[in-house]
Amino acid sequence: MTAPWKSLLHFIPYLKSDVLGLFGLTVIAAFILVGITAPYIVPYPEDAWGSTYNVERRLQPPSRSHIFGTDEYGRDVFSRVVLASRFSLIIAVSVVTLSLIIGILVGLIAGYWGGPLATTLMRVTDMFLAFPSLLLAIAFASILGRGLFNLIIALTIAWWPWYARLVYVQVNSVKNMPYVEAARVSGLSSTTILVKYILPNSLTPATIQAFLDMGGAVLEAAALSFVGVGVKPPTPEWGLMISEGWHLIGTAWWVSLFPGLALFFTVLGFNLLGDAFREYSNPKTRRLLESRGVKL
């Protein structure tokens, strides 16, 4: 048996016993791989940012030379769908990571020190939680203006309170655990207690939630771009592409459908992987598997 936090490394071997999770991992691994290599593998990399405008090949249905067809500006939909994967992944990972970091800091400070500072911090958190997160993200995105960086900031503003809440609740219960009291009696410094005793024991729920939220982040980013407050055109981004092809859905269905499918599979992959991680983090599941002789 190893350290509880080191057991994160055993998540991949665990997936052997979780078919859906393994499927999720495969999908996400494929998207990451495609995202990284995108500019080198797509047939029309110059179409990504739409610098070329080809009237003669606009709105062509899927064919051998354009397997996902072309859009209104004659750009290869396949190339753009593939190139967009990196933006979706960058957005999802940045938003969730940034939100988690802010959430941990706020939750830890409020939970550990308590008093009026905690009350203030958590009331602010509650204020953010009172709005539907998508609405809040749209509001901030419209204030900040379009662009990848602004989109990440807007989504982070809407997301961090969820993690702050989770960490706060956990810190509050951990700080009264006998091992923390014992550490105080042993004369350990506040910093040591905070870093070695409280922090590592308070992270599990928020980490699981972060895993589960990856798919949601991809979806909300697409939603923001869809309603026109996300990334700037002609950035290849799934939400933006769906919105650009929306009015053509009756005649040129391929323009919206393929980015939609890419979005669907990414979100599905993240959700399945997140579910598997939640299952894996449940001590009961692990004990059950260990009793069945699955080596973790």
């Binding site: 509880p4 091992y179 014992a182 040591t192």
Partner: protein, 270 residues
């Protein structure tokens, strides 16, 4: 200089049942109500009482974990909340506590070695001979040295409690506050831990504050017994007096129950 090592003088503690909008307590429950208790160096004081009688709260007050709402906790005749610098560190090292549930009193994320090492470092006792000190501690509490490399969840209740005792001993304390140290353990393991505690007291010349709801265990461990009920001390005296000649109605009922229990056990076994 007083002859008392640790004193609680007119100590009262309230717990808030409900908090207001800005965190102020609205309703209070009295956990300790004007309690005065003096502990002499080298003695074994037993505190007995049912759950909710305030005995654990008193233990935490002595350990500096709960600040009393009124009254004072004194160490060697000085208020512990007025101690500064080296004086405070001396108090901190001198008074150690062992909790009821050994598994929740050890950080689940740390190996036994790291838990003990941090404690030794914090009290400035970690040096070149650190490893030897760890080995000595394990020997003192009767554990194999390979336990050092384990995580708390890999230990049995008895082993974990021995580790908790080793952590308390690591800082070379004068007083051990034992807050129901055997209540969460199997009966056979309980006896072993009690024996260990008795021998440690002799070896290191420790002062014990032994807290339990079990008057038989308290009798076995202590020279002097204090009976607590609803946040107050209702009876105090040498162990034999309390057991043989209880004055307070509550103490009598405790002993009556114990006699009934033993009679029942005898009935079953014959």
């Amino acid at each position: 200089m007083t002859r008392y090592l640790l004193e609680a003088l007119n100590v009262s503690v309230y717990y808030a049942l409900k908090r207001g909008l800005l965190g102020g307590a609205i309703y209070d429950v009295k956990a300790l109500d004007d309690v005065t208790l003096r502990i002499e160096e080298g003695e074994s004081l037993g505190i007995v009482g049912e759950s909710g009688s305030g005995k654990s709260t008193l233990a935490k007050c002595f350990a500096g974990l709960i600040k009393p709402a009124s009254g004072k906790i004194m160490y060697k005749g000085r208020d512990i909340y007025s101690l500064k610098g080296e004086d405070y560190r001396e108090y901190r090292r001198s008074v150690q506590i062992v909790f009821q549930n050994p598994h929740t009193s050890l950080n689940p994320m740390m190996r036994v070695r790291d838990t003990l090492k941090d404690v030794l470092k914090a009290s400035g006792k970690w040096g070149k001979d650190g490893e030897r000190k760890l080995a000595e501690l394990m020997k003192a509490v009767g554990l194999r040295e390979d336990i050092l490399n384990m995580y708390p969840m890999e230990l049995s209740g008895g082993q974990a409690q021995r580790v908790a005792i080793a952590r308390a001993l690591a800082v070379e304390p004068k007083v051990l506050i034992l807050d129901e140290p055997t209540s969460a353990l199997d009966v056979s393991v309980q006896a072993q831990i009690l024996e260990l505690l008795k021998s440690l007291k002799k070896t290191y010349g420790l002062t014990y504050v032994f807290i339990s709801h079990d008057i038989a265990v308290v009798r076995y461990m202590s020279d002097r017994i204090v009976v607590m009920h609803k946040g107050k001390i209702v009876e105090e005296g040498p162990s034999s007096d309390i057991i043989e000649n209880p004055k307070h109605e509550y103490t009598r009922s405790l002993i009556r129950d114990l006699i009934k229990l033993y009679a029942h056990i005898e009935e079953i076994s014959t």
